[in-house]
Symmetry: C2
Subunit: 194 residues, 2 copies
């Protein structure tokens, strides 16, 4: 199943959840595609890759389709994830300066107390083993990212959501998704300057 389809299934699922919250029981591919920001044929092609769940002339049952997509994605149970590297930023180096921060409730206590305790790296192997952790969010400086990824993998992590601005080298069976905020900003700035 293509990666892009998997992404879109996640989006469809979130739209379906919202529909259900609004008490809607049936939806056409046209309407769901609109909500997800894609064309209806694409939605139907995506779904066709793992089954036929619609009723011609009527559409899809929201609850049933949610269940099918959820089953396909394997998102039934809560997954444990760890966060490695807390709170480093550094946009200035990359050409962007965060000049202001805004919030609906600017004076609300930022809930540092309910947040998790931050543990030292030496506690990683025990923690990963005990909690059955298979995925990590890696948000350390570029210079140590590869080394830290190697450790995570050695300790059993199979999936890494990488925020460090480098290309990680990993064994084939390990999956990396990279998110580079500086590049996202750079991309935006390119398309708005014209």
């Amino acid at each position: 199943m293509p990666r892009k389809t998997i992404y879109r299934l996640s989006i469809y699922l979130r739209c379906l959840v919202r529909l259900r919250e609004n008490g809607i029981g049936t939806v056409s591919s046209e309407a769901l595609a609109k909500a997800a920001g894609v064309k209806s044929t694409q939605l139907r092609k995506d779904l066709a890759l793992f089954g036929n769940f619609g009723t011609r002339g009527l559409g899809y049952d929201v609850a049933e389709l949610s269940a099918k997509i959820s089953g396909e994605l394997g998102t039934s149970r809560l997954q444990p994830v760890i966060l490695v590297g807390v709170g480093h930023r550094g946009f200035e180096k990359e050409g962007f300066e965060i000049v202001g921060a805004f919030d609906l409730e600017p004076n609300r206590r930022r809930d540092k107390k309910v947040a998790l305790p931050i543990l030292g790296i030496e506690q990683l192997p025990k923690f990963i083993a005990e909690h059955g952790v298979r995925m990590a969010i890696l948000s350390v400086p570029a210079a140590v990212a590869q080394e830290m990824a190697n450790k995570l993998i050695a300790y059993g992590v199979m999936g890494i959501l990488n925020f460090a601005p480098i290309v990680l080298e990993v064994p084939e069976e390990v999956m990396v998704n990279s998110v580079n905020l500086a590049i996202e900003l750079e991309n935006l700035s390119y398309f708005i300057q014209s």
Copy 2:
């Protein structure tokens, strides 16, 4: 110029910066492509879209190519960006639980003092106008994201890096890049379960 190419140009640029820091003056498409995680033909095709900067038999001048890409991306000067919506999370709702947080220096003071003051939303229009802000990072709960995006656009923001898990409706001239961390995690979890 295709969006995907722009993304890759950003990546090439970062690789070139690292090469320069290491005192390397010339690089072949083969070597640069390796560092960027793409094929060398793709790199050459990407560059061909806006010029011929290489020397056959030799490769590319690192400084010159950096300058060309930087010029093309328009990343010469520091861009002001604002952050709207501070510190909301909520992965549990989406099927993932952050069970642990790790850092190289777990007891370091998280620098809340050097961070920006957080302003109220009512100060947005004045701030945007005064600082010439054209881009915003939007990280508010889904329920208020569309409304807040509308405000930002009305005040002059042209590019939004959206972290809210919804599809924003915006006028054609406004650019939105969405990053959905829950979907990235879901995607990872799909590909590691097999």
